[in-house]
């Protein structure tokens, strides 16, 4: 899958903004936003590509204090489609206003849970009817999930303290599979070598990739080598 990779965009806050822009472009979405509270230093970090006028209005009205797409969603396991809030007065208050700024109430919020008690919300919206939304969502939901966690992990890693403590914990199996990948073996080959199914190889690669913060297997191998997790071949 050809995901937008945060590590290819130059450092600093600006790259999270670019990440959101590129993701919207790629997945045919109008706007996306991300918000988290850092569990280590308590700082709230947020990124969004909404129109500046809407951002100003939103903050001016203190919508963030009761916007259900920000609060009610954060404890969910599955992504929450905004249509679940249709009868919610707070939702209507925020999104009636949003409509005047060209921001649609057709959207979805993905809750993200991290390992350190950290959490975040990644939301996307598109100006379209239910039918179109229903067709689009299954096409992009896997990539949205991966992108949401990718973004969150990158934001966490960007804080210095997290950089110090967040060393990827790879299992023996994950290392072994990455090592064989580094040696040029295909997933099918590795399955044969280790006597496990192709799908098991795949599931470990996916987990290892995300722990390392890489979007492609090639990149995961390169980073694992540079981190000393596996050997260069």
């Amino acid at each position: 899958m050809d995901l937008v990779d945060l590590s290819t965009i130059p450092d600093g806050d600006i790259h999270f903004q670019d990440f959101i822009d590129q993701l919207c472009e790629k997945l045919e979405l109008e706007y996306a936003s991300y918000a988290t509270t850092n569990p280590v230093n308590g700082a709230v970090q947020g990124y969004a590509n909404y129109p500046d006028e809407w951002k100003k209005h939103y903050i001016g009205q203190a919508f963030q204090e009761f916007d259900p797409t920000l609060h009610a969603t954060s404890r969910s396991v599955a992504p929450i489609e905004w249509r679940r809030f249709k009868r919610n007065a707070d939702f209507r208050r925020v999104f009636d206003a949003a409509g005047e700024f060209g921001v649609s109430s057709q959207g979805l919020s993905i809750p993200i849970r991290g390992m350190y008690g950290d959490s975040a919300i990644f939301s996307v919206t598109r100006n379209c009817d239910d039918r179109e939304w229903g067709l689009l969502l299954p096409e992009i939901i896997v990539e949205l999930q991966m992108s949401a966690v990718h973004m969150h992990d990158a934001v966490l890693r960007s804080s210095l303290l997290m950089k110090a403590i967040a060393k990827p914990a790879l299992s023996g199996r994950e290392k072994e599979i990455l090592q064989w990948t580094a040696a040029g073996k295909s997933q099918a080959d590795i399955g044969d070598i280790l006597g496990i199914s192709n799908r098991t190889v795949e599931v470990h690669i996916r987990s290892a990739r995300e722990k390392i913060g890489a979007l492609s297997t090639t990149q995961a191998v390169a980073r694992a080598v540079s981190m000393g997790i596996i050997h260069a071949i």
Partner: protein, 218 residues
């Protein structure tokens, strides 16, 4: 029929949740002898406080007859904490597209051994279909399920065999626990549906929830 209770709707339907906790106490403590904490006849642990998604099967009388609990593997979950023994000391999987399934059970007191709507087999399949379809809609591709060997056998015989296992089965109290991998795929759901003869939509809309519950109370 299947209802999914999460952080957004659990307050409105807390009586269903309550019945589910009671079912879990009957199954995991009374029948399986797991070392779980039961208070006031309800089995609850720290993971229930993390607002997991509960996939719950209710029969036509509105009685809770089966359930399963889903959590993201990106955050705290059972294999990363309490069941880490199963993984032989290895770190757990962590992925945005893998969920963990735990506390899977069905009510063997209410359900029979046959193949009809009121059977162990039917409800097992219904909970599985509900969980996989719910997960797929969320963009989840695989599930790692903590199960016992009996459940493992049930899965294998119902068109729902795990494609692999993580770590090694471990004795936990009176039973053995193991971590099974299952793809959340249309193929798997079709296979379970075919085995169980379930072709209809298993989910009940939230608006319809009130009726069977009122019937149960009447």
């Amino acid at each position: 029929m299947i209802v999914v209770l999460d952080a957004l709707n659990r307050e409105q339907h807390h009586s269903i949740l309550d019945e589910m906790y009671k079912l879990r106490a009957r199954v995991f403590r009374d029948r399986l002898g797991w070392d779980v904490e039961v208070r006031d006849g309800r089995e609850m642990d720290v993971f229930d406080e993390l607002y997991p998604a509960h996939v719950i099967s209710m029969n036509d009388d509105g009685k809770v007859v089966g359930c399963m609990r889903l959590l993201q593997t990106t955050g705290p979950h059972m294999l990363s904490d309490v069941f880490s023994d199963i993984l032989d000391g290895e770190p757990p999987l962590r992925s945005s597209t893998i969920w963990e399934a735990t506390r899977f059970c069905v009510d063997t007191n209410t359900l029979d051994q046959g193949r009809g709507r009121n059977s162990i087999s039917y409800v097992t399949s219904e909970v599985m279909i509900g969980s996989f379809e719910y997960a797929m809609r969320a963009g989840i591709q695989d599930a790692v399920a903590v199960i016992d060997p009996v459940m493992n056998r049930v899965l294998k015989r119902s068109g729902n065999a795990p494609y692999d296992y993580l770590g090694t089965p471990k004795q936990m109290g009176k039973v053995v626990a193991m971590a099974a991998l299952m793809d959340c795929s249309a193929e798997r759901v079709a296979s379970i549906r075919e085995f169980a003869g379930i072709q209809h939509d298993v989910f009940v809309g939230e608006d319809d929830l009130i009726m069977p519950m009122e019937r149960a109370a009447a």
